[in-house]
């Protein structure tokens, strides 16, 4: 059963870099909304 699942090192597979890029694309939308929001 254990052989069916393999653990990968998130640093070796550049997984962290992908996660940062995904976070960037989500946050840029939030940031752009914030940038164009008019204050009252």
């Amino acid at each position: 059963m254990e052989e069916l699942f393999t653990y990968y090192d998130i640093f070796a597979t550049k997984g962290v870099e992908y996660l940062i890029i995904i976070a960037f694309f989500i946050l840029i939308l939030v940031f752009w909304g914030l940038l164009n929001m008019r204050s009252h």
């Binding site: 870099e17 940062i20 946050l27 940031f31 940038l35």
Partner: protein, 421 residues
């Protein structure tokens, strides 16, 4: 009544421009224009003039005697100092505002920014002429500087070959972009029409060159792989330099524009004054978005280069101070200023950003360069290096002031030129 009539005649004459028909006319007009206008004994002139004169003497001394002590503290271990780090690399980043604004106005057709285009292009052109021109001081055998241009040992494999040609061509492109203003000043209608037609081509050429040489300068840093601290070194330095030149250049536009509006305020009409705050808000938005992207690029590269381990060290704290204090903080300050239309916050953020760019470029040239060397053996600029740098900056300001006071840079172009446009 007679006074009013005389005023009208003077305005019409000024609108028509000088009547230059031959070289003698041009020479007499130039002599008249070279004469100072207004009070010469201003505090700025009295402080800047002695520094400039002293700087010129040191420049002659440096060109005659070479690099090294007492002019510079450069040595074999530290070949890049204040002149390369500040004058050339930082100066070129600050001049980046010209290509960004040209792209926004001529390619994206955002007419809102048209009011600042002449001052920005002039600022960019002078920055290249003086700061990139300061590269002459850093070249050991400076008398050979024209060799890449004439084909005497082209050195096509050298990064400096790319930099030399890019600087040369970009200065030409910027001059062509600015030349309609010179033609308007000289009252040359036909020439103005021809030069006006060349503008768009020069802009496109200039933008292409800028994207390449902003990153091309960083290629110099790539060669120093084992000398630059791992937190700063990455093979993607060219991308970082290019992206950072967007907000560095625009911060310079905000800073320089704000000073120009105070100093040359009388040349601007009321509509321009009113419109200016709106321009600042737009520039702040672009800066903020570019800095947000730049910050994430830095984070990704930190992980990509496996440099996270170095963060818990004195150099690591310095790195964090740079990217948090001078990228993330002004990024949100720009956003806050744009959101609330607070120009004071925007101007303050522009100053912090500019300081951050200076720190970043100096990190690459001598602070994080040879970072393993003991503090006592580190390079620190010699007093003459500071004075020469100050004299170059002040000369550029004097040239900018002379041109703005005579040519239609901030003030409206003459009526005949507006018709052409």
């Amino acid at each position: 009544m007679a006074g009013e009539k005389l005023d009208t005649v003077a305005i019409v004459k000024e609108e028509a421009g000088p009547n230059i028909k031959n070289f003698a006319d041009f020479w007499s007009f130039l002599k008249k224009e070279l004469k100072p206008r207004g009070n010469i004994a201003t505090p700025f002139n009295l402080i800047s003039l002695p520094i400039m004169v002293l700087g010129y003497i040191f420049i002659v001394y440096r060109l005659a005697t070479g690099l090294g002590k007492p002019i510079t503290n450069l040595n074999q271990q530290y070949p890049w100092g204040l002149w390369i780090g500040f004058d050339v690399v930082t100066g070129v980043a600050f001049a980046g505002g010209a290509y960004v604004i040209c792209f926004v106005v001529y390619i994206l057709r955002a007419e809102k920014y048209h009011a600042i285009i002449r001052a920005t292009v002039l600022n960019g052109f002078l920055a290249y002429l003086f700061y990139a021109g300061a590269i002459v001081l850093d070249i050991g055998r400076w008398w050979n500087i024209y060799n890449p241009m004439i084909g005497n040992s082209f050195g096509v494999n050298a990064v400096m070959f790319l930099v030399a040609w890019h600087f040369f061509l970009y200065m030409l492109a910027e001059f062509v972009e600015f030349s309609p203003t010179v033609a308007e000043w000289l009252g040359m209608k036909k020439l103005r029409k021809i030069l006006g037609g060349l503008t768009l081509g020069a802009v496109v050429f200039g933008i292409c060159l800028s994207t390449l040489h902003q990153s091309g300068l960083a290629a110099l840093m790539i060669m120093a792989k084992n000398k630059i601290h791992p937190l700063w070194y990455t093979e993607f330095i060219p991308i970082l330099y290019f992206v950072s030149s967007i907000f560095a250049g625009l911060s310079m536009v905000i800073f320089e524009g704000s000073i120009s509006h105070k100093v040359f305020g009388s040349q601007l009409d009321e509509a321009h004054h009113k419109h200016y705050d709106d321009i600042l808000v737009g520039l702040a938005r672009i800066c903020s978005a570019a800095m947000f992207g730049y910050f994430f690029l830095k984070i990704i590269l930190l992980v990509h280069e496996h440099a996270v381990q170095y963060l818990n060290s004195p150099m690591g704290f310095w790195y964090l101070f740079e990217i948090v204090g001078f990228v993330l903080v002004p990024c949100f300050m720009f956003a806050h200023g744009a959101q609330n239309k607070n120009t004071s916050t925007i101007k303050f953020a522009a100053i912090i950003t500019m300081i951050g760019i200076i720190i970043n470029r100096l990190n690459y040239t001598f602070i994080a360069y040879n970072w393993y060397v003991p503090l006592s053996e580190k390079y620190w600029p010699a007093p003459m290096e500071y004075i020469i740098t100050a004299s170059i900056i002040l000369t550029e300001i004097w040239a900018f002031r002379w041109i703005v006071n005579r040519m239609p840079v901030l003030k409206e172009p003459p009526a005949w030129a507006r018709e052409h446009h």
